[in-house]
Subunit: 222 residues, 4 copies
């Protein structure tokens, strides 16, 4: 995937559920292709299949469990989201934290299935811990800034710089994303300046009056 | 839905993932239509859409969370599984227990979306508790018999009778299913004799050498 | 225990930790004995023993797990809090929700040990569900009012009346407490008027400038 | 604390609850003082106070939550176990796994309170992750060997060696313990040979017919 990476989390917003998830993913695809920027659509798990069938940009899951095939009910496995058309997954999102041992199992299962992994974290120490598990990306999101409208890249550049430095020390192959409060092209530019490979955002696009315009603004300064 | 109800949980078995979930659901459909018995397919959450697009029998989710539209990541909402084509859901399966307050929210959210609800329980007391929340069904499954091959209807008929009696006392409109160890037509017949409206099973069909033959056996004594 | 019951949850407040838990329990004891009102002290779990050794009022645990003796680490068992001097326990507090099946196990384990049980709930439906498990008390606390300073008995008398009516229908031997926003004697009086057997409160006493005065005010209108 | 460290987890065993926790801790104390070996007693949380008042060896908690003073009910805080007499704590035991972000908070809270921290882990990758959080110790316990009677130091020496090497790379100040199946002095000797600073065990002592004899055997080859 070409850098920088813009990862759009659809959450469970009504504006990005079911048929609207497909429309939202199409906006992402349109802007991605028009501007040559990698945009990843992260719909709800039941929407992965229909979204993946409809667009030619990467589709990721919002979560997988650290279990495989077997006697598990209601769990989301790497193999099943792969079969549904996903090519990556968020793991340990701040709204869906999992046990450390399950982050490890989930990263392993995803890698085995050939899925790209983004482990979400809340501070520099936890980012270092996540980096030891060698996911493709860690995404640092200070919880107090999530949904705040105040971009982490402005509010707390040191935490982003610190995360980048800490990860390089643990495993230079792991790339860093940042999230929380991102909604403008200047936030993305600032995030890249700080050494990240891109951003993770949700409401800045999904809850925007005009999501396509929001996406265009986001990629405008790259 | 016509009674009795045969609910087939696909779990995360490899034999019922992705394209194989569609094949498995087609066996269920074929036997359901040929024998006039209600069979419900319960695929993994990422498989709901493709299964629901492929068969004309009810498709249920294995789990929903007790949250609605909003800032939730990795959660499975009633609205999203409805949009994906499900018409019902398991709640609180023994492999996916949730908080009492979340069972309540999940049942409410499912009802509001027009979904049929099956709340799974482990003993008579918990079955009574679940019945107060007025789901369409409660499904009692003694944990020690799950996957045992020993049918609850034979091993512990008193727990099934007790659950039926307890539920009638709390809310006679709630119907009772039973599960754990069910694999034969005689198990289904015994479950109905004990006052249930049907059964919940998984490995008895999915892990059978010939799932279609297993389904045929299941409905053979009704 | 003589009604009404005033249950004082010490939470993890600094004002009621360690030696201060003992002092706080002594205030409860003093007011209880002086006014003939039942006041229960609910210190943190590590403080149960020293508090129970120091006062002659009932001491309850804030939480127990639904497990017994065995290979469990970090779990709080009924037998262990009994041995430490507790004579009752909260179960499923809004800040420590547990699975429905664990509420059931915890109530059973507590009863077997001879402990008084208070199952906390968030609405009328969940209160009914809890009542089927036959704890000694259910304590309804609308989450939106917890810590609000607005007493449930004033803000939402219907939820309290509804809970009392629902519980009587399920099991008339289960008594109802209410909580959330309680801090004054008039709140207690209102709660009793609504048919409850008492109240559950925390910050109204523990965070008061003068906890003894707060307790005196609480029992003043009974 | 003088190495090697023998950490005895009392779990919720009946043999080490309440007054029996005190007796068990006295055996630990007696053998520790007689042989100059550091033995740590890890009683259930409600037993910490009475055990800590009765013996002059270190007493640790089995678990703390990653929260501090405040509106938390049923949570175990670093400050409260310190006030109860503990001087350290297990974190993330295999029977009490917690979220990665909570391991981080728990380690921070414990350090701030001056408590020694042992973070439990299940494999080498998770051990590396835990080491980045700079606890005093990590304790690797392969889940499949816990309670098996087959000592990890014999059954899987490579996992122990690998954990020691991985931790040294991340943070050489973090020491490594190992656990699972340990019951003999030779198991302890083997663990030390492999580069650990000691062992974590439970049933090998607590469920022994003669716990004092078991302890004597444990320290016999050091």
């Amino acid at each position: 995937m070409k850098k920088p990476l813009i990862v759009v989390n659809f959450k469970t917003y009504a504006e990005s559920t079911g048929e609207k998830a497909v429309s939202m993913a199409r906006y992402c695809e349109e802007v991605s292709h028009a501007h040559g920027v990698s945009i990843v659509a992260v719909p709800q798990i039941p929407d992965i299949y229909r979204v993946a069938c409809s667009v030619k940009i990467p589709v990721y899951a919002q979560h997988i469990d650290g279990v495989g095939a077997g006697s598990f009910t209601g769990h989301v496995t790497a193999d099943c989201i792969l079969a549904a058309g996903a090519c990556g997954t968020l793991i340990n999102h701040s709204e869906r934290r999992i046990l450390l041992s399950d982050i490890d199992s989930a990263v392993r299962a995803a890698k085995k299935a050939g899925l790209t992994t983004i482990v979400c974290t809340n501070n520099i120490a936890v980012t270092s811990a996540a980096a030891t598990l060698s996911p493709d990306f860690v995404a640092i999101e200070p919880p107090e800034l999530i949904g705040s409208g105040i971009p982490v890249s402005k509010a707390d550049p040191d935490i982003v710089r610190g995360a980048v430095a800490a990860v390089k020390k643990i495993n230079p192959e792991v790339e860093v994303l940042c999230g929380a409060g991102i909604s403008k092209g200047e936030d993305v530019a600032a995030a890249l300046e700080l050494g990240t490979s891109g951003v993770l955002l949700a409401s800045g696009v999904i809850k925007a009056k005009d999501p396509r315009a929001a996406l265009l603004d986001l990629v405008g300064k790259i």
